[in-house]
Structure formats: C-alpha cells, structure tokens
Symmetry: none
C-alpha cells in the first residue's frame, strides 16, 4: 500500500484557535483511496518549520499532501518553503497567472500586485486550478519520485481542489482505481472496554478485516474496517467479522447507524 | 518561551474517522499558559511510529504532551513505545494499581486481568490520577530534562487530567504564573442529556467557568471547571455556576461527592 502523509500549515492550528478538519477530510479520502496515512503534522506559518516538516515527511512516505499558506499575503510563506523542501526554484508561471487573473476578473475586480506571488510555482510543478477561490495549488515530484500535493487552507477550496484534481492525480500515479475501504461501527452499551477486549483480543491483531475499540462514556465503539478489490468484497469481510463478534459477545450489539445517523 | 509539542495517537485519527479535537484543546491551553506549540503530530497505534514521533519531538522541544493508547486493550501500545522513547523500562507500580482497583470498584466491578497493564509506567514516572475514567496518565522527565506528559485519548478523561494535573505540573516546572483550577461534578438522574443540554446550552459555550456534560447509563454528569488566581476565586466561580444550573433545571441536582465518595 503506498504511504502518505498530511502537513497542515497555520498558526491558528498550533494556537488551538481552529479545529483541524482539513486533516480529517484528507485522511479519510486518502485512506479510502488505498493510501496508508502514516502521519499527520501541523506547524505554524514559520518557513524553517514548514521546510523541515515537509523534508522529513517526503523522506518517510511516498506522498505528502500539504494544506495552507498558498495565498498572496506576506504571512503565507508556504510556497517558498515547499520549493526549498523539494529542491526546486520558484518560477513565475504564465499559465498559473492567466488563471489567477481570470478568477479575479470573474469577481469584477482587477488583480493586485501581490496577487502575482500566487503565480510562482516550483520548477516542473503542475498547477491545480482553484474552482472556488483564487490561489492555485500544485503537484510536484521530487528527484526520487516522491509526490508533493499543495492545496489551499480554506476548507471549501481545499476540498474541491483535492477531490477534483489532487486525488485523481494520485490515483492515476499509483494505479489505485480499484481497492476499496469499507467501515462499520458497532456499539455496546454499559459494558467496560476491558471485558470486551478479553473476548475479542485476537481479532484486534488482524490486518484485514481490522477491529479497533474506542470508548466514550457508557459505551464502547467497535470500529470494523475491511479492504477489498470491490466494495462487495470489503462488505463481505465486514459481515463475517460482525457475525464473529456477535457470536462471542454475550451483550447486545447494535450498528451505530441504526440510531445515531437517523 | 518554553517550547512544546503535541502527539496524538490513534488509528481512527489517521483514517480520518475522528476529528482531532484533543489537539485543539491542548494547543489552546498550552499556548495560553505561555508555551510555544511548535508542532502537532498524529500517528496510528503502531509502536515504531509512536516511538519515532516521540523521540523526534523530545529532541526538538522541551515538553511533549501525548494523548491516546493508555487503556488496557491489546491495540493500545503507547505505554511501551513511550517508555522506549524516553529510554526507561516499564515497571509495575503499586500506587497506580491501587488507584485503578479503587476506580473500577467504585463502579461496582472487579478489575480484569488485563487491567494490570495500565499499572505499568516508565521508571521514575509520576502517575497522574484519572478522575473520570480508569487508566492513569503519567509525567516523566528524560536525562536531558525534557518533560513527557502522557494522557488518555478519551476527551473527557484527557481534559480533566490535563487541567487538573498535567498543566499545573508544567506551570510549576517552567515557572509560569500559577493559576488554580477547581472542578465540581453535579449529577442528574433519569433525565436525557439532550433535555439538560437544552436548558444549559449557552453555559457550555463559556470558557471560565466551564461546563461539560457527560453521561453514563441513567445519569448525566455536569462537570464544572473554573480557574482563578486563587482557589477562592475559582470556588466562587463554581458556586455561581452551580447556582445558575440549579435555578434553570426543574429536576433534582446533587453533587457527586455527596454520595459517591461516602
């Protein structure tokens, strides 16, 4: 399974002012597409921190998806730090600039001088169009074929760009059209996690289907996950695991979506 | 300004099944207390990944606060990985075990065999009591005086342990202005959480005093927390909040310690 990491850049994140829903969104879509997300990293808008975190991630994993800091303001140093992390100079790109001008004019304005900053991309990068905002993202590959995908930090822009351009690029690049991840959550009420663990410990060591326990007050969640070449194959694995669990546990077990999602 | 990092451990996080609100909570409180949060890292329940991420963070920053993986189940490998990261063996601790047994018995149960896992702490660690759940946390310092604080992953347990024990430890250790936290738990029996939430929703949005709801079968716990420059100031805030709650709720409200601790 190809390995991937996520790097979210934003001082508001390390100050705890904003919940990092971008990480959750990307982790979910990368996992479902068949990537193993090894690590998620968050740093502030500090060039040295961004560059170090990006270098480390690209040394560990095949894919790095970055969010944040692609806008035109001076506190957005991501573009230069990422270019340094992949060892490429920034270059002014006419294609990116034309796209920026078109997006700004579509809003009835003229681009300001600092908007030109957004048209600088690492040499060899492919620009990713921003269908919601203005700043383009990009994909660039390193000498040793690691893939860096840079996305805006605004969730609506990030999500549209990742699902519309970033993820399709990654799927093609790693030949991942087929494998599917399916998940299911079972709930047991009023029984301590340790009692359930005693009955299911060996199932928690399997890779596929995978079982993990987590708890919230008064209930234990059994998180089932399975991968298959088809959704049907993954669902069958989940069905088998669920049957095994129900057979072993002497307490009522229900699927989470029977009530929580109504 | 002393530097700090956060490491959140959980496969549900790297799969994007859960939003990492623990990181936001810790980042906010560490920042407010005077720490510079340099980085937040998330890894799955994989011993090598946990160990590597903890080592790297402790090499970069003075404080590392870890959440997750302290429970008794086999998919909770955090304890051993952190002990390795700080270069200390795990030791069975009688004081931690007594606390665990007391917490389990207070719920009218007997500890299972695998609960003993939770009483193993790195040599030299100070156990942090868990006032909400069962698994203790701990603080341990490395040879070069870096501080590791390990907390449970369940948000209610993590928050109470961090505000009640972890943060006061860090403030003392780094000579940051001391502030007192006081907590109080009120219990309402036989009323759905949603009804209570409807009456108290606006109080739950306040920062200080803070009100959080949690539930166990048949009862709702109202967890009150207040900070002040003195214990008296914090107690006064709690008294005011409790009076407000009693005025709004048409059901009997009692303090948890009136019965539970007798």
């Amino acid at each position: 399974m190809p390995t991937a990491e996520i790097l979210n850049i934003g001082t508001e994140l390390v100050l705890g002012e904003t919940v990092n829903t971008n990480a959750t969104f990307l982790a979910r879509h990368l996992s479902r597409a068949g990537f193993q997300v090894r690590r998620i990293t968050v740093v502030g808008d500090i060039p040295q921190e961004i560059q170090a975190a990006a270098r480390e991630a690209l040394a560990r994993s095949q894919v790095l998806v970055v969010t944040g800091g692609l806008g035109p303001t001076v506190d957005d140093p991501t573009r230069a730090a990422l270019a340094q992390a992949v060892g490429r100079p920034l270059e002014f790109r006419d294609d990116a600039w034309e796209e920026i001008v078109a997006r700004v004019r579509a809003r009835g304005r003229e681009p300001t001088e600092n908007a030109r900053r957004m048209a600088y991309l690492p040499r060899g990068a492919q620009a990713l169009p921003n269908s919601v905002g203005v700043a383009p993202g990009f994909v660039v590959e390193t000498e040793d074929r690691r893939v860096l995908v840079a996305l805006p930090g605004v969730p609506g822009e990030m999500e549209a760009m990742f699902l519309g351009h970033g993820l399709p690029y990654l799927r093609r690049r790693f030949g991942l059209q087929t494998e599917t991840l399916r998940t299911r959550v079972l709930v047991v009420e009023g029984v301590p996690e340790a009692w359930i663990d005693e009955k299911l410990g060996d199932l928690e060591k399997r890779e596929n289907p995978f079982l993990g326990l987590s708890c919230s007050p008064g209930r234990v969640h059994l998180r089932l996950r399975a991968r298959g070449q088809t959704p049907q194959e993954a669902e069958t694995l989940l069905d088998q695991l669920e049957a095994e669990i129900r057979q072993r546990l002497p307490w009522p077990v229900r699927r989470e979506d029977e009530t929580e999602k109504v």
